[in-house]
């Protein structure tokens, strides 16, 4: 059983006991524990069930590479799935539960998959669930979703109560990794005076060195780390950060880092996670190395762990995963684990070394401690059900014939070490295969390059393939000097600390144990614990023709889980290369993608949630609307009132009331959001003639003209009224959502095509409040305010005039989007509310009724006016909408003219705008399609039109609609059929003129 040792534990604060719960059971631990070390200290060997076969799984690693110990943390709206127990700091009151089992961790029904394992090999889902097709959606997928998978996502209605933020940082050198390599590299770089930021993902500096031993400058590694760290902290050009993980490296020196500020102490308050967005001229990735498992049968049983992890738990957490631990290895490093265990008073029944000659000095040291050493041997199989009972010894170069059964309760395995090359590879750094070490290491000749073409990522220490303490520190200094030199700085102190260490004998690559393991053993030898991929699965993939490592990955799911194959990748591709009979470098690696370990969605969102998700634009009348029952509708970043609901009124009631009142007497609309772009200069007229389909240069001063804007490929993009202000000045109104886009569109053509034209543009949208005064009493109310002659003679339709109304400076446009007598009144934004209040006051006698966007829409539809975004969708040209009258035939050129001459654009078979009246007076469903005879090549019913706008008209007391219909204007009076949402029921509608109300314009012509 796993136990807590009575002494030791570098990270433990034994003065601070804490209590936590696992699956509801209250357990003790210490501050400084991780959840994993505390679980092991309580003999909780099994921590979860595997993804596919529901096998019992325990802690394998001690860091972020952990594949098995994934738990649910917290509860309610703080519930988080898939949290790694090995990187979860323990605190008082921590709640964790295990994942992927039912009904409980100990008794899991899904473990039946384990018994069926030989029927569930790689690609099983693809082969089994393909027929019949219809079964996938209703039977197979729900079943697989229930039985496979990891944690459960939080409930969708739960809002994360914690806060998150983004930080920005700009540095010369970013050092990722706070082990001895990172600290030494940072020190060497910082001495040249450049700005250095050092980040370490854990809470502790020094990495593995304090656990692994040796001396640096005559000090033990802990002391050297403390001294170096203090030096760095004292330097004004250096910042150091713990709990900050280098997550990803991107183009041109951009890096993302993920800080966990309060996960270890939730009562601390404040921001929980922080995403750092760092621009670094150079990045030194001192990210260390990860130990590889060995592939032998039963290597996934709880109690089988990485040798380095076993050492970590003993040294750092005073926790022994077993009282009797067999060490199995192909290298010298694992002997350190055996020595640590023995020195802690624990039993090591044997070290099983696959190398025929065994190891070097460390082996002699172990032997000196009385440990039995078996060289040239391997493990045939680990015995046990939910924890290790014994290992079966065999010849490594054999087929697994059992020589002896060695009882033990834990296994420490080491298959060698692989540099953490993730950050190097994220942005295109390439790798070389290192034959001696059996790992991929960065190829310095193929580094990620920045905007100048210079390498900007440098790996140092283990990450660069320097595997012992002495070469690690040498490499750190050398890479640091390279970085400083590449920045054109004078290097400072380039001295390398002196190191005393034990020499190690070479490793022997071992990809399968024993070498000739039969199928029965290979199908129990795990490569990827988290996704349940075994040696036999990868071999099957190769046999079935998945020769590319990327294909094998996807077929078997090797390396595709949340650990992204940190432990499994090298073993997996070595297995593949052997199966294919190719060299490992020829097979290559899969692509490393950020983030290095998963980061929280909260950190990615940062502050951008709720009210801060995006800015809200408010008109000068916003507060009035808010206070008078506005039902808000987002229009771009604006909020516009959809309608103003009075007590007891439904939204539809309010819309109907607003329309009726406006048509009967007087309505008021806040039109301030309409885009207002001033175009000015000697060439402004010529420019606008290119921008608009109709002629704007000939527009007389004092008059308005409705204009259409098209993109260069002919499609209608925006519309609005243009007013000629003076000889060289035009004011262009755009749609509410179009102002910024159209302004940018104008600037694009001015700057990139007609840059010699003397034209200036300015977007004045927010400078003016604009109020539409609409209805038969519109003129009367303006006359009541006084100050301007707004008579039919003085201010005819499509004219504008400057002046004052009720003492306020205004520009009055006589234009109409409703078919009523109507004035749009612009006033400087600061006067907007005053004008609105005076209009309400003066209009009270006429039942002045503020109306919202829905009434606006219905009234324009009653008049057959198009709306950008309803009648247009990026495939519609003005000719489709019957707007020929707004397209100049005199102009040689305008944007879109040439495109509108293309054959498809002039095709008489295009869908064109018509009015639609249902025979029963009902409202057509929005977006409904008109169904035609027959079916198309895909077996779908043919269509002959669709609804673009559809409303209930209170004026006409019936449903009205506009739509685009095949040869529509030629088919007036014809009845066509529209499908309801069910796709079956039909509604009949007659094709009519789109102007439903007052076709002769008598109401506005007064």
């Amino acid at each position: 059983m796993s136990i807590r040792l009575s002494t030791g534990g570098r990270f433990l604060n034994r003065a601070r006991p804490v209590r936590f719960s696992f699956n509801g059971q209250r357990l003790p631990g210490f501050l400084g524990d991780t959840l994993a070390s505390a679980l092991l200290a309580n003999d909780q060997m099994m921590v979860g069930r595997s993804f596919k076969y529901h096998r019992a799984r325990g802690v394998v690693a001690s860091g972020s590479e952990e594949p098995n110990a994934l738990v649910n943390l917290g509860s309610g709206n703080r519930h988080e799935p898939n949290q790694r127990a090995t990187t979860t700091a323990l605190f008082d009151g921590l709640e964790a539960t295990s994942q992927n089992h039912w009904p409980s961790l100990e008794f899991d029904i899904g473990v039946v998959n384990n018994a069926l394992m030989r029927f569930l090999p790689a690609g099983f889902y693809y082969k089994m669930f393909i027929h019949p097709r219809s079964f996938w959606k209703h039977i197979y997928e729900p079943f697989i979703r229930q039985s496979a998978g990891l944690g459960k996502a939080p409930a969708p209605e739960d809002q994360d109560p914690d806060t998150y933020e983004h930080f920005y940082s700009f540095v010369d050198v970013l050092v990722v990794g706070g082990g001895v390599a990172g600290l030494q590299a940072a020190l060497s770089a910082a001495q040249s005076g450049v700005k250095v930021m050092v980040i370490e993902q854990s809470a502790h500096w020094g990495g593995r060195a304090p656990v692994d031993g040796g001396t640096i400058d005559g000090m033990d590694p802990d002391a050297w780390v403390e001294k170096t760290l203090n030096t760095l902290k004292s330097m004004p050009n250096v910042t150091v950060h713990t709990r900050l993980m280098g997550a990803g490296v991107y183009d041109h020196g951009y890096a993302l880092a993920y800080e966990r500020l309060s996960d270890h102490d939730p009562d601390k308050g404040g921001v929980r996670h922080r995403l750092w967005r760092i621009r670094a001229a150079r990045i030194i990735a001192a990210t260390g190395a990860l130990e590889r498992p060995l592939s032998f049968a039963g290597n996934d049983l709880p109690g089988v762990m990485l040798a380095s992890a076993v050492r970590d738990y003993v040294v750092n957490y005073a926790t022994a995963p077993g009282q009797s631990t067999v060490v199995v290895t192909n290298n010298d490093d694992a002997y350190r684990t055996a020595i640590v265990l023995k020195n802690a008073g624990l039993d090591v029944p044997a070290i099983i070394d696959a190398r025929p000659e065994g190891g070097g000095a460390l082996m002699e040291e172990a032997r000196g401690l009385g440990i039995r050493i078996e060289t040239g041997r391997g493990i045939a199989r680990v015995r046990g059900l939910r924890r290790v009972v014994s290992v079966q010894l065999c010849e490594q170069d054999g087929d697994g014939a059992v020589l002896e059964d060695i009882p033990c309760d834990a296994v420490a395995m080491s298959g060698g070490w692989s540099p953490v090359v993730h950050l190097w590879s994220h942005c295109g750094g390439k790798l070389n295969w290192n034959e001696a070490g059996a790992f991929f290491a960065p190829d310095p000749d193929r580094a990620p390059t920045d905007q100048t073409g210079a390498p900007f990522v440098y790996c140092a220490g283990n990450a660069n393939g320097a595997m012992d303490l002495k070469t690690v520190l040498q490499d750190a200094v050398e890479q640091s000097q390279n970085v400083i030199g590449s920045l054109g700085c004078e290097s400072g102190d380039a001295s390398v600390p002196s190191v005393a260490q034990t020499q190690e004998a070479p490793l022997l690559p071992v990809w399968l144990m024993p070498a000739q393991a039969p199928k029965a053993l290979r199908s129990k030898a795990w490569l990827d614990y988290q996704n349940d991929v075994k040696v036999s699965d990868v071999q099957l993939a190769a046999q079935e023709g998945f020769e590319s490592v990327e294909h094998t990955k996807r077929y078997t799911t090797l390396g595709m889980a949340t650990d992204q194959g940190k432990l499994s990748n090298i073993n997996g591709l070595a297995t593949l290369s052997k199966a294919l009979g190719e060299d490992i470098p020829a097979v290559g690696t899969t692509t490393f993608r950020p983030p290095y370990t998963p980061i929280s969605m909260g950190a990615i969102a940062g502050e951008a949630r709720g009210a801060l998700f995006q800015p809200v634009r408010k008109t000068p009348l916003h507060d009035w609307h808010e206070a008078h029952g506005a039902v808000w509708e987002p229009v771009g970043q604006w909020r516009r009132p959809y309608c103003f609901r009075r007590d007891g009124e439904s939204t539809q009631d309010a819309v109907n009331r607003e329309i009726t009142a406006t048509r009967a007497s007087l309505g008021l609309l806040d039109a301030s959001t309409l885009g207002k772009i001033v175009v000015k200069g000697p060439d402004a007229g010529r420019f606008l003639d290119m921008m608009y389909t109709n002629m704007m240069s000939t527009l007389p001063v004092g008059k308005c003209r409705y204009g259409l804007m098209c993109s260069e490929n002919g499609f209608l993009s925006d519309d609005g009224v243009v007013a000629r202000i003076d000889d060289q000045t035009w004011l262009c109104h755009t749609t509410t959502g179009g102002a910024d886009r159209i302004h940018a569109h104008m600037e694009e053509w001015l700057q990139t095509e007609w840059w010699e034209w003397k034209v200036w543009t300015a977007n004045l949208t927010e400078q003016y409040a604009q109020i539409a005064v609409v209805g038969p009493q519109a003129r009367t109310v303006l006359e009541t305010l006084g100050g301007l002659d707004v008579s039919k003679e003085a201010l005819p339709f499509m004219h504008w005039v400057d002046g004052t109304l009720g003492g306020l400076p205004v520009r009055v446009y006589r234009i109409s989007f409703s078919g009523e007598l109507s004035y749009e009144i612009a006033t400087p934004a600061s006067h907007g509310r005053a004008l609105w209040d005076r209009l309400l006051e003066a209009g009270a006698a006429f039942d002045a009724t503020p109306y919202g966007t829905e009434a606006l829409h219905v009234m324009r539809a009653e008049k057959g006016f198009i709306m950008i975004g309803d009648e247009t969708d990026g495939t519609v040209i003005p000719q489709d909408l019957g707007l020929h009258w707004a397209i100049s035939k005199k102009k040689d050129d305008f944007l879109g003219k040439r495109a509108q001459q293309r054959t498809h654009m002039t095709d008489p078979d295009r869908w064109k705008l018509v009015g639609l009246e249902t025979l029963d007076g009902s409202v057509l469903p929005d977006g409904a399609y008109a169904v035609a005879e027959g079916r198309n090549a895909n077996g779908q019913r043919n269509t002959e039109g669709r609804v673009t706008s559809t409303y209930h008209s209170p004026t006409l007391g019936r449903g009205i609609a506009m739509g685009l219909v095949h040869r529509g204007p030629d088919r007036m009076g014809e009845v066509i059929r529209f499908a309801r949402d069910d796709g079956e029921t039909m509604i009949e509608a007659r094709i009519v003129n789109p102007v439903f109300f007052d076709p002769d314009g008598e109401k506005q012509n007064v």
Partner: protein, 112 residues
């Protein structure tokens, strides 16, 4: 995430400050052009692995359009220049030739 230096305001701009605008140095064909010319102007674009000329707008900055010469493979930026030109500046073309001997892009190349 790219960094491009705006030739107008001199700011080394983050990609989030910029709006991409597609291929640079297109010749506009309007009314009077034949279908092949017009379609090539409107639809056909280069897709090089290597030297490329493209348009960017310093949208969240000074608002100006500019051109960038960039390697689509390594993302190396050879230079940026104002958009008010129909061809890359000679000095920039020489700089590209020094780094990518034998390059060519549409009608431009090391020789021309």
């Amino acid at each position: 995430m790219l960094i491009l230096t705006c030739p107008y305001c001199g700011v080394a701009a983050e990609e989030t400050e910029l709006a991409p605008g597609g291929e640079a140095h297109l010749t506009r064909f309007g009314p009077g052009s034949d279908d092949a010319e017009f379609e090539s102007y409107l639809f056909y674009r280069e897709n090089p692995k290597g030297v490329h000329f493209e348009r960017w707008r310093h949208a969240n900055g000074c608002g100006k359009w500019f051109h960038a010469a960039r390697c689509t493979n390594t993302l190396e930026v050879f230079g940026t220049y104002p958009a008010q030109t129909t061809e890359p500046p000679a000095a920039l073309r020489e700089a590209i030739s020094a780094k990518r001997p034998g390059w060519s892009w549409r009608s431009f190349s090391e020789e021309t």
